[in-house]
Symmetry: C2
Subunit: 136 residues, 2 copies
Amino acid sequence: MDPWYKIVTMSSEANLESVLEANGVARQLIGHIGDKWSLLVIAALGHEAQRFSRLKARIEGINQRMLTRTLRALERDGIVERNVYPTSPPTVEYVLTRMGRDLSVAVTGICEWARRNLDEVEASQRLFDERAARRI
Amino acid sequence: MDPWYKIVTMSSEANLESVLEANGVARQLIGHIGDKWSLLVIAALGHEAQRFSRLKARIEGINQRMLTRTLRALERDGIVERNVYPTSPPTVEYVLTRMGRDLSVAVTGICEWARRNLDEVEASQRLFDERAARRI
DNA sequence: CGGGATCCGTCGGGATACTG
DNA sequence: CAGTATCCCGACGGATCCCG
């Protein structure tokens, strides 16, 4: 089976099934980490264990419910690990697993792209909107 | 400004603002390509120009409306270019721009991660669900 | 062929209140 | 402190029909 980048960089007549397979992979991927907060939580976690309230403070705009949900989903996927220490009040720490750390590295490429191209994207948007406004 | 990977790999007490900045970048990113179809369209495009109906055939499960919307959004972002040839019936071709090709390369890392870890993710999910079922 | 317009269901996600 | 439980809404996305 051809890896994804081959599909991306040399999509030809022949490998329709490969595209479909990539379809499935990307679908899974988007299902797991493509929601609004997952990437931010992964970024905020870094490689050191952090407590719930600390994460909530680091991630601007998130509320308890969404942080809990996101952490649960990531835990279910094996991307973060949850450790409870039975103190009083309870202490709960979250830390990236091996898979989580790998993912945070992989995310780097996308984020660097975003960082490099955000200005150009916004410029393109303004141009597009301007033209659209004139046509109407 | 520190790049994203530094935030990810060395998140410490000091760089809260950096996390917030990453917050914004990731937010933009998710807003642009984090929807259900963008990555699939980018993958299906590859580096060669393709017509609307061809794309629709390559991307399993998409309908005209969503393909149109996704292509418009990507065009607005400067990620794909739309070329119309005034033939009859009309011919419309889509092709990745320079930014789009860069992005498709960056996406590779994430997709490779997904490909490598999908089995482990699914195993983790089963384990998690099984445990959850026992506790109840 | 390559769309645009419209209707409509679902579901992600926010606000708020309560709990061990 | 670290959640769980409800309520609610707006946007995303699917189906269908129409058009140049």
